[in-house]
Assembly symmetry: C2
Homo-oligomer: 326 residues x 2
């Protein structure tokens, strides 16, 4: 016998109308009452017709909020995630938002669709959004981003250690004028990488020779590298906050007649496919994408057994890929 709204209403001690309202987003109903009704509904296995439609839509789906698709690292993440989810019988839904846009206006849509989980690689998550998701039982996973102000799951590469490795490697190669091209100052990846880098540099008795930001883009990286390399005293090594900027730096160096690693060493971060191409052979810190995505999928699949406000932060080690550029 299929459960009906009437049964739920009786069980929860409310009217049928209230049950109906609990299921339609935007209805005027006491949030506490709605939650109680929803809870009873789950117990009885009741779903409203409207809800059933929504469930067909979001059956087994995971929603990804992605920005900055111009950086090949993110398509790579998207692709890997899509395949991993496919393997466990789920689908990937992507909200692609232009970089710099905040994601709050997506909240109603995301909540209405009730995905199994929300994966965020873009910009920052507002605490309101995080709270709303938790209340609606949607697990949130941040990828390649750490945010300490909201209690959500996060999976990232060990950016701090990566920064240290880069510095250690460059110093071992006797580099003495080491520059840094950053991404966007208030992102956790930028912060952690430069902090680790500086720390190791200091331990080796050096300090940063030059510093600039390139906004994680090719153009920004190119301009920054060009400026540094046309100074009277130029750096003999560059650590770039991501691969795109590192490749841009190599291009800028070549354009000025310098070659890697003889005239200067260049190290990137991410290990996007292009880093391995023979024209660049970029030395870089590889992010363990496959392992990161496996972690993400595990967190999502754990859904049923782990309480939703028990959050995990996974920091996975990166790996220095020594190629030709440093």
């Amino acid at each position: 016998m299929k459960p009906t709204a009437k049964q739920v209403a009786h069980e929860a001690g409310v009217s049928i109308s209230a049950v109906s309202r609990a299921f339609s987003p935007g209805s005027s109903i006491d949030p506490e009452k709605r939650q109680r009704i929803l809870q009873v509904a789950v117990q009885l296995g009741y779903t409203s017709p409207a809800r059933r439609t929504a469930e067909v839509i979001s059956a087994g789906t995971v929603t990804l909020v992605a920005g900055d698709l111009a950086n090949p690292f993110y398509p790579l993440v998207l692709d890997t995630l899509a395949k991993a989810l496919q393997a466990v019988g789920r689908q990937l839904l992507v909200y692609a938002i232009p970089p710099g846009t905040d994601m709050d206006h997506l909240t109603p849509q995301i909540l209405a669709a009730r995905p199994n989980a929300l994966v965020v690689t873009s910009a920052s998550l507002t605490s309101g959004m995080a709270l709303a998701c938790r209340q609606h039982g949607i697990r949130v996973v941040l990828v390649n981003r750490i945010q300490r102000d909201v209690r959500v799951n996060a999976v990232a590469c060990d950016n701090h250690a990566g920064g240290r490795d880069a510095a250690t490697f460059l110093m071992a190669r006797e580099r003495r004028r080491i520059g840094f091209i950053g991404g966007v100052a208030d992102t956790s990846t930028h912060r952690d990488r430069i902090t680790g880098f500086r720390e190791a540099l200091q331990e080796g008795g050096q300090s940063l020779f030059a510093e600039a930001t390139g906004g994680y883009t090719y153009r920004g990286g190119y301009t920054a590298a060009q400026a540094m390399l046309t100074n009277k005293v130029r750096p003999d090594a560059l650590f770039c906050c991501n691969d795109i900027m590192a490749l841009a730096a190599i291009d800028a160096a070549r354009e000025l007649g310098f070659s890697t690693p003889d005239d200067l060493s260049i190290i990137g971060f991410d290990d996007i496919p292009m880093a391995g191409w023979t024209s660049y052979r970029l030395t870089t810190i590889r992010q363990p994408i496959t392992r990161m995505i496996n972690e993400v999928v595990d967190l999502i699949e754990a859904g049923a057994t782990v309480p939703i406000d028990e959050t995990t932060t996974s920091i996975l080690p990166g790996k220095l890929m020594v190629r030709g550029s440093a």
Copy 2:
């Protein structure tokens, strides 16, 4: 006064039940009748409750079915489309499917979500899927793909003319041993490009010197180019079916000690951002992505006024970007 199912039923000359069925996917109803009901419903502005909920979820969304995100051209399309839709107040939802997978199993989900439109850049659309979409009033737009067996909208670059342009350009540069590295033989882009290329070659009194396929990937392109260039008699020009393979060809050539354009000319197709990077300076046919996406958005926005089975195929001209590689 809000229109009801009863009015629609009366207007369409069917029972209320039929109207309800027309709106629930998977119900047993004559497809023709469903279509008529849906048409009347649109006229009267009727929406079923289930549909209304779905509309909250997919309000103003466009669903994109994308594959092959390893080719930077598609993230570029995705990014551009996301921004264009954002500008007209819509959101982009992406179903990312691993290349080679067919999209038929997505049908129920996509239909249930009732997006405003479906944009397909991946693999091929089965006629069943296309038919189902039309019956449900979902406009379908193929991007960078032409399919004559199903009646859907399509927006693509003029691949035939692009192929011709490439051939004409290479012949004007006195190239006499012109090779071709294709993508995947049964895709429309591959077919149109090689057909146009061959045609122009023939008109210039030449024929293809060598031919291989690289599956649209870097590795495939690299291997194919390497094989051609280690033959006793090697080509003095290569037309690659997309930029990734062209960049791979440049890398393979460099690795063997050849340089472009002196030892051989290389032309690509797409004009992905990397093609303009100073280490490559790839001569290539630019796909007018912005214009293509504008067409897509126009087709979607025209939704209300143009009948759904009036389909348009837009073929936009590409542009030869002459850089350093040919």
